[in-house]
């Protein structure tokens, strides 16, 4: 069997993942969580499970991170889905799309931080739309992909409002993405609330 040395598999399970609610018994009030911790691994690796955060809420995990000396930006980073950009590239995932999206997303986050909006939003990211639209750049006509920006404010991620980012900020982000990321010629802003839309697009 693999791993002759390790006896334990550590995981970042937190308290809300393990709370057994009264609703669960009746199947009521129990949201199904698609958990991105490493399900199945302990069995296949024959390891014991070590979950040192299982008594803590997310805000406590963050405080613990700070107390342990982790950088503030890492600890207060917006949530990122387990499948990563895989669910922020709509439809088929290609390396080329991931590369474009990564750069567009970084520009968006950069500008949010610079404008003091990163901390005011609960989650912000770019989404790659695999459709092409027509544009003009310089003397030439372009036919390239679209990126959607998503920024939401929420207390608990159960419901969320789209963030009313200043138009000037959105304009700057759009400009930079279109100028700096060759392959994107159109940027749109998602103004859907949750519900009825979800925060992530997939």
């Amino acid at each position: 069997m693999p791993s002759p040395n390790a006896k334990w598999l550590a995981q970042g399970t937190i308290y809300p993942d393990v709370i057994e609610s009264a609703g669960a018994k009746t199947g009521k009030a129990h949201a199904i969580k698609s958990h991105h911790n490493v399900g199945g691994l302990p069995d296949t690796l024959k390891l014991k499970l070590l979950e040192p955060l299982r008594e803590l809420f997310k805000d406590e995990v963050r405080e613990l991170g700070i107390a342990l000396g982790l950088p503030h930006d890492m600890v207060y980073r917006h949530p990122f889905p387990g499948p990563g950009l895989g669910v922020r590239i709509l439809g088929e995932v290609k390396k080329e799309f991931a590369d474009l999206l990564r750069r567009a997303d970084a520009i968006f986050i950069d500008e949010l931080r610079a404008a003091g909006w990163y901390e005011k939003t609960s989650q912000a990211f770019a989404v790659f739309l695999p459709v092409k639209s027509v544009g003009v750049m310089g003397d030439g006509r372009t036919y390239e992909y679209v990126v959607a920006l998503r920024a939401v404010e929420t207390q608990d991620f159960m419901t969320a409002h789209w963030a009313e980012l200043p138009h000037s900020l959105l304009g700057k982000v759009s400009n930079r993405i279109i100028n700096e990321v060759r392959g994107i010629n159109r940027v749109v802003y998602d103004i859907s609330g949750k519900p009825p839309a979800t925060i992530e697009w997939e």
Partner: protein, 337 residues
């Protein structure tokens, strides 16, 4: 270290978890459990106080959705919230009835009877000097008759018994939801209940908890080795930092770059953990493998499954490699691709 603890019994409200967060905010440890845990469990828990949550049922319809009787016999303070108030009233001999229509949203209540729970807590006062509070209501039923020994501690126009208490036994109950932020003074009410009424100190905070967490990990793991999948997310990062502090080189992290990470994420993880903290991190670039398996797949659920499955594959393969044994023997492998 033994913390003073509050026990929250959950009756299925959507916002029950917020109760636990409000209590923890007060630097008091608490746990939330389904309302039908055993009496023995409650005794063994040794709560300093008990909170009964809200829930979607009616006390006269769901006969078995009750607080275990021991809750009222332990001699510790109890706070009932919404359904928790109704079941407390009914179990102790009061009366609960449907009010005919649901009350949902903001309500103004008047604090009455100088209860310990609300004393000095108000948003404003009326001309007669009565304290008024803005609270959040969400209920169809209400208490219409007090159990013996109780008095009214809050009332509103539509809900004459919006709060009740037996201050001798330290049983308190409110029809509104102090745990949601819409109840402006909710935080003060929780502070009052856990600190003054239950007598809990402030023994739950993360800077102090660090050492406790470290000791726990050491006791659990001993001299054995641990592997951890590092993702760049907050939770796994904090686990890595904690375990590194607790068990040093007994920890090996595997960081899988699946090609779907944010810009420079891998670099940042290696910088923070491998280079600054000196954690053993095996960095695997599995972009090709992931992209290969994702080719021609466009269904979101399918993509999620594949990404999860491939992660397990890579993680398993990495932790089985001979280098892992070297790592286990104390060799640092910072940033090996």
């Amino acid at each position: 270290m033994a913390h003073q603890k509050i026990l929250i019994l959950d009756f299925g409200s959507q916002v029950s978890q917020l109760i636990a967060r409000r209590v923890r905010e007060q630097q008091v440890y608490c746990e939330m459990h389904p309302f039908d845990v055993s009496e023995q469990f409650i005794r063994d828990f040794k709560p300093q106080g008990i909170i009964l949550s809200g829930g979607p049922n009616s006390v006269y319809e769901a006969q078995d959705w009750k607080a275990p009787q021991v809750v009222f016999e332990l001699g510790v303070p109890v706070l009932g919230i919404c359904y928790g108030m109704q079941t407390m009233a009914q179990q102790l001999g009061g009366k609960v009835e449907s009010s005919g229509k649901r009350e949902f949203g903001y309500a103004e209540i008047r604090a009455r009877g100088h209860s310990e729970l609300f004393k000095g807590i108000q948003d404003r006062s009326n001309a007669e000097g009565h304290g008024l509070l803005d609270v959040w209501m969400s209920h169809g039923d209400k208490v219409t008759e007090l159990p013996a020994g109780f008095k009214v501690i809050a009332s509103s126009e539509s809900c004459p018994i919006a709060g009740m208490a037996d201050e001798v036994r330290k049983f308190y109950a409110v029809q509104f939801h102090p745990e949601v932020t819409h109840t402006i003074k909710g935080k003060e009410m929780f502070a009052r209940f856990v600190h003054e009424i239950c007598g809990c100190g402030h023994d739950w905070n993360m800077p102090d908890y660090v050492n406790e967490a470290i000791e726990k990990v050491r006791a659990q793991v001993g001299k054995e080795e641990v592997i951890l999948g590092l993702s760049g997310g907050v939770d796994s990062s904090v686990v890595a930092a904690l375990l590194h502090r607790a068990i040093g080189d007994q920890l090996t992290c595997v960081f899988v770059d699946n090609g779907l990470l944010r810009l420079n994420e891998g670099e940042q993880v290696m910088q923070t953990f491998a280079r600054s903290l000196g954690v053993k991190v095996i960095h695997v670039d599995a972009t090709e493998q992931f992209m290969g398996h994702l080719k021609d797949v466009s269904d979101p659920e399918q993509k999620r499954k594949i990404i999860g499955r491939e992660f397990v594959e890579v993680f398993q393969a990495e932790s089985a490699k001979p280098e892992r044994q070297m790592a286990g023997a104390g060799h640092h492998l910072p940033g090996c691709d």
